[in-house]
């Protein structure tokens, strides 16, 4: 006789709420950890995750996924792929693993919050798989770069980065701790599962796989798309939570959670995905521009999903569209200029052909970002390498912790958005980052950016060496240098010779 189908017994396994008698319910599900919106338990029991799986199916399917991911890795390990690897692609890997590996691990702790404090048993079960998924992602993304350690000390950052105070890591931790680690189960489900995992993770884990395949890095392409297949499932924890919120008169709160989380993640992902796609990947291997991927996955698909659930397009959507044309170009410049502060070797990668591509994909690039690189190119062509290293630092945003920048050149838009709160002045990169602060000043007000720390005495004295040491440079590994040893200016030499 055939075994039962999953649907025959699935609902029984998620019918596990009971009424506590020995301890008060509010002690069992404290609102700050569970549901701060006072939505009745019966409402949460209507939670129905659209993407279902059983334990039995889970261990079987996940075993197969891993079997595939690890066998592709083994095959590539035996090949000579990493010998003579382009340093642009190596930078993608170094940046990716350093930013992602331990973040995935903390995500398993966040999923555990939903397992323990989720008011709906369905949510608790789904999040149990989510928790395991994130363990998988952390372990894959530690095991794979570990093999690269004998090639390059920078790969040690896959494990160490999150333990340092590197400026890029402070940005990552501040955002992740805000959106993921310091939220109740419900707000977290909206912020992480919906706003993050149905949106921007697609860029990093699916969009980037196209470039990886073009590079011949099938291990990486296979790994990240396999990771996203887990995310696609457990991300579905978010939409029922949003719908229950709206049904119970909490649309405004759900909207704010989505808008805050999306913007915070956007500011990070433009760096970890946008820069690789438009600069680090050699021109011949680029498929679409970051902007094109953003329009495919975010402007069209994510926004559609937001509206499908009954929320509105975020108020800052026009600002986002502008930021898509702008933010990662600025940060490519900043990261390259301050390359000794990062754990990868960012290529400038703006030779004549690359500039032509950038101008085509981002009309106006030459008049704006081009002027910035003109000065740098001129310095390099005229043996003034030292002038490519600034002696000062950029001001850092008190929300996203990223250097405050905007379009240079004719279209000059660089500006700091300031805000006074209880006698302290805060500096923000954009209107949305400032807005996020005002939604909950208590949450953010005591935090110090790395620039604040240079003036508050935490980094004392704030000499260049001390700041670099504070950031883990010269501690975990050396900092970065131009990934192509400035070969990208050769095209200009050739032009000049003609």
């Amino acid at each position: 006789m055939p075994l039962l189908e999953r649907s025959d017994w699935y609902d029984i396994a998620r019918d596990t709420n009971w009424t506590p008698d020995f301890v008060p319910r509010e002690e069992l599900f404290p609102s700050e950890l569970s549901d701060p919106y006072d939505i009745p338990q019966a409402e949460w029991e209507t939670f129905d995750e659209p993407y279902k799986v059983s334990y039995r199916e889970y261990v079987k399917v996940q075993r197969e996924k891993d079997s595939s991911a690890y066998s592709v890795k083994a095959a590539l390990s035996r090949s000579k792929f990493h010998d003579g690897l382009d340093e642009g692609w190596a930078s993608v890997l170094k940046l990716h693993y350093g930013a992602v590996a331990l973040t995935e691990y903390q995500a398993s702790q966040f999923q555990a919050r939903m397992v323990r404090f989720g008011p709906s048993p369905s949510m608790r079960n789904m999040a149990t798989y989510g928790m395991l998924d994130e363990l998988r992602h952390a372990q894959l993304q530690l095991y794979f770069p570990h093999e690269l350690l004998p090639r390059d000390r920078h790969y040690d950052w896959a494990h160490e980065a999150a333990h340092t105070n590197n400026w890029a890591i402070l940005g990552g931790r501040h955002a992740m701790d805000d959106v993921m680690m310091c939220r109740d189960a419900i707000t977290g489900a909206i912020m992480v599962s919906f706003a993050f995992e149905t949106g921007l993770t697609n860029l990093q884990m699916v969009g980037l796989s196209t470039d990886a395949t073009n590079m011949g890095d099938f291990t990486f392409a296979n790994m990240i798309t396999s990771i996203q297949s887990d995310e696609a499932r457990h991300a579905q924890l978010g939409s029922p939570a949003i719908e229950i919120m709206i049904k119970n008169g909490r649309k405004a709160e759900a909207q704010q959670a989505v808008d805050v989380a999306f913007w915070r993640m956007w500011r990070l992902f433009a760096i970890t995905v946008g820069i690789p796609m438009d600069y680090y990947i050699p021109l011949e291997q680029r498929h679409l521009s970051f902007k094109e991927f953003m329009h495919e996955w975010i402007i069209r698909q994510y926004d559609r999903q937001v509206r499908e659930l009954g929320l509105e397009t975020p108020w800052y959507w026009d600002l986002l569209k502008d930021d898509i044309e702008n933010h990662h170009h600025c940060q490519q410049g900043g990261i390259w200029s301050w390359r000794p502060t990062v754990w990868w070797n960012p290529p400038g990668a703006v030779g004549p052909r690359e500039r032509e591509w950038l101008e085509e994909k981002y009309p106006g690039w030459n008049d704006s970002f081009g002027t910035y690189w003109d000065v740098i190119t001129d310095n390099l062509l005229n043996d003034r390498e030292e002038k490519t290293h600034p002696e000062c630092i950029p001001i850092i945003c008190n929300m996203c912790q990223i250097p405050i920048s905007n379009r240079p050149g004719k279209l000059w838009k660089a500006r700091v958005y300031q805000h006074e709160h209880e006698g302290r002045r805060y500096n923000f990169c954009t209107e949305p980052c400032r807005w996020i602060f005002t939604t909950d000043p208590e949450r953010y007000k005591k935090h110090e950016s790395i620039v604040d720390r240079m003036y508050s005495g935490e980094i004392n004295p704030p000499t260049l060496d001390n700041v670099l040491t504070y950031m883990g440079i010269g501690v975990v590994s050396e900092g970065g240098h131009d990934g192509h040893d400035y070969r990208w200016i050769d095209g200009f030499r050739a032009q000049a010779a003609e």
């Binding site: 008698d21 702790q109 323990r116």
Partner: protein, 329 residues
């Protein structure tokens, strides 16, 4: 800054490079993964934020102390991919059991009295194990080292495994005995039947024991052993006597997961007992929680048919487990 010549390529992570032997896959992917234990303020937000206060109070200020929790190792060295390989095999075995008994119309051969016992004493167990799933997940959030977190994570998943299998059996039994109250009756039994009230009190109180180490003690030294011995082992034995070979074999399969849980529990206790003062801390918690565990066992076993010695056997086994950890009463 260090001279660049110090940065030779590595064979393993710098934090493992000091040890003599080559690190295992387990160590490479499992050790020192928490960033929230690096600094005085756990999370990169204002120190006063509720979650920072929660971690400072319930994790960092726990009376159970160790200067290097990260040195803990899971004796099974379980990683995600080996867990799935192992559990896929275990689940295939359970599928086989269910298929085989189903083919022989096992449920049709059960007597009415036993079916009633199953409805009252077996299928409501999904609430019990789900509570253990939630409690284990609390440890995932709060344990001070990733190697401890991982053990708790797989323990939480194991509970869901058996919640699912109980749900599966609940449906099967409801088809065999539509009048016995399966599917809809379990919550009433869990909340009202005398057999479950000890367990329910134990689990509700365990779930609000928010100090991470007290939670671990209540869950892994008291509640889970009580569940393992009374619900899994004693009910399994009764099933054997009642001719319910399927339940007996399911419970035997369940014990495999319990044994793994006990192995890491024993290792973690041994690790904690290296530090002066921890024995007293753990001893006090055991003294506080063990009576609740005993009461749960007593209440549950009293309801088991023809099982006069069940409670004393179960309590004896639980006590022996703790004695083996050096924490006998």
């Amino acid at each position: 800054m260090t001279d660049s010549s110090d940065f030779k390529p590595l064979k393993t992570w710098s934090h493992l490079a000091g040890q003599r032997r080559r690190p295992s896959e387990y160590e490479i992917v499992s050790t020192n993964l928490l960033w929230s234990t690096d600094k005085e303020v756990p999370w990169e937000l204002a120190p006063g934020v509720h979650m920072n206060q929660w971690y400072l109070k319930y994790r960092d200020a726990s009376p159970l102390k160790h200067s290097d929790w990260n040195a803990f190792r899971d004796p099974d060295e379980m990683v995600y991919r080996t867990y799935n390989i192992m559990q896929d095999g275990q689940e295939t075995y359970v599928d086989g059991l269910l298929d085989e008994y189903n083919a022989n119309d096992h449920d049709g051969g059960l007597n009415a009295a036993w079916i009633q016992q199953l409805a009252e004493l077996y299928t409501p167990g999904r609430y019990l194990l789900h509570a253990a799933q939630m409690g284990s997940a609390y440890l995932v959030q709060m344990a001070p080292a990733s190697t401890i977190v991982n053990c708790a994570m797989l323990q939480s998943a194991d509970q869901l495994r058996w919640v699912s299998r109980i749900a599966y059996r609940t449906k099967e039994l409801s088809l065999a005995a539509p009048e016995a109250g399966f599917v809809d009756g379990e919550r009433g039994h869990w909340q009202g039947h005398a057999a479950w009230q000890g367990f329910r009190e134990l689990m509700e109180r365990t779930l609000v024991a928010y100090d991470w180490a007290e939670h671990f003690t209540a869950l892994n030294l008291v509640a889970k052993p009580a569940i393992d011995e009374a619900f899994v082992r004693q009910l399994g034995s009764v099933a054997r006597r009642e001719g319910d070979g399927l339940l007996q074999q399911l419970m035997d399969a369940h014990q495999t997961d319990n044994a793994r849980s006990r192995r890491w529990t024993k290792s973690l206790i041994g690790f904690a007992l290296e530090i002066d003062g921890n024995k007293d801390v753990l001893g006090e918690w055991v003294t506080k929680w063990a009576p609740l565990g005993d009461a749960a066992i007593d209440a549950y076993c009293a309801a088991l048919p023809n099982a006069d010695s069940a409670a004393s056997e179960a309590k004896g086994e639980v006590e022996a487990f703790r004695a083996d950890l050096g924490l006998g009463r």
